[in-house]
Amino acid sequence: MSKKEYIKPFIKKQTAGNMNKFGSFYQKNYRDEIAGAKIDAIVEKCGSPVFVIDEKAIREKYREVYRDFSSRYPKVQFSWSYKTNYLDAICAVYHQEGSIAEVVSEFEYQKARRLGVPGNKIIFNGPFKPEEALKVAFEEGAIVNLDNFDEIFKAERVAKEMGQIVDVGIRLNMDTGVYPQWSRFGFNYENRNAYDAAKRIHKSEWLNLTGLHSHIGTFMLEPKAYAAQVKVMIDFMRIVEREFDMTIESLDFGGGFPSRNKLKGTYLPPEVSVPPLSDFIAAISNTLLSELSPDEYPTVYMETGRGLIDEAGYLVTTVDAIKRLPSGLKSYIIDAGVNYLYTSTWYNYKVEVDRPIEGSYENCIVYGPLCMNIDVVLENASLPPLSRGTRLILSPMAAYNVTQWMQFIRYRPAVAMIMDNGDIEIIRRAENLEDVVGPERLPEKLKKFEL
């Protein structure tokens, strides 16, 4: 006699008047593949946990956004924000699509150069650029945006030493109606700090102001903030051109577009609460077109990071243990912790399972494997009863995790890219002991001990 299919037992208390008004519709799904590659095949090749990036999704999103922007304002140039995800394979996809590089450190600069990006296709931002790094950037013709007066002086010194007049941009900050205002980067517009910076550069024998930059924040939910930003930058461009007889060739509006991640503390799913990127693009391009005459159209740089890539990435993890907490709350221990998931501080990830699971959904908490109380990956997930070995697929994952992840207690996992033909490529292998201890040096007298 064949046995019956097993469905885990459950018992649930009925609570009247406390029904879930907004069902988390996506959680009822399961996903046994990513971009045509089976989850099992990915894990067999790369291990678990593993970050998985969908090449086709990156390209499609980029093309959609680029087409939308360039059809409204043709002189736009996207610039991949390296800090969002600077794995070679990711950057190379963007560079193949025509995006240049935006970096904020000499490390990122070197990484872009090594990958084959010419210096004059690199935008160099950030509040701290060592003198040596500035020198290289100027020599190689990079687009450099200065952050503060000390950096103006530094740039002047470097240019003078080189015996060459160099083009620079300045970063501005301004009130765009959003709170909190990012005022720590660049020169403030309202208090005339930006004006003074332009004046100081105008006075310099060695510097030439050709660009204005600003990045008003991240995960912006209000397209109008961009309209305000563009207006201020055009006004400032006019002032500078009129008063100092300078020609501003480019305006850089930074990044900040939101992704379809679910911010903690928000009620509605991101499909409803996050405006589409076309709203942001429309706000920028409409302001440009209404404020400028065609003969003065500057090059517009966009440094969009998370908004372009986040949804192209997943983390595949495996349930290792199931535990009922004394409070009655069900908990799971998975093999990936918050040390890989920098963005878990802000996001409630979407969770999918790799197989259909019978049984009633239950609120539960999902812990990582670190022996640390803070290691909570999902504080409040609604999941069917999972068996050991079930894989959880968390997303969106492609922005900021694979740059801000930490080697802590465990090795960092592999990153795979599912190529547009469905092939699975490891674009960063899992770490091993040698990777971690390589830089360490043990003083001679500490080498021996007996226990």
Binding site: S2, K3, K4, E5, Y6, I7, K8, P9, F10, I11, K12, K13, Q14, I322, R324, G328, K330, G359, S360, P385, S387, R388
Partner: protein, 80 residues
């Protein structure tokens, strides 16, 4: 374990459970009903596991963990 409270529950075939003393109601599934019935007969966990393993195609460790979890839930709901 005191299973007296379980005996007072009204349990329908489709898994609806009503506790006439507290007025609370619960839902469970087929195997949940089986477990409650076996508990009412004062069966030991070992015996319950054996009986269920006869009926369902399941790894014994998984069943063991799930049974403990189910009983834990009954305790949380003050049903045992």
């Amino acid at each position: 374990m005191n299973v007296e409270k379980l005996t007072r529950l009204a349990i329908s075939d489709n898994g609806f459970i009503f506790d006439p003393i507290t007025g609370h109601s619960f839902t469970t599934n087929e195997i949940g009903i089986k477990i409650i019935n076996l508990l009412k007969e004062n069966k030991e966990n070992e015996d319950i596991l054996d009986e269920l393993a006869e009926i369902y195609s399941v790894n014994e460790n998984e069943l063991d963990v799930d049974l403990m979890d189910f009983i834990h839930n009954l305790k949380n709901f003050s049903l045992v």
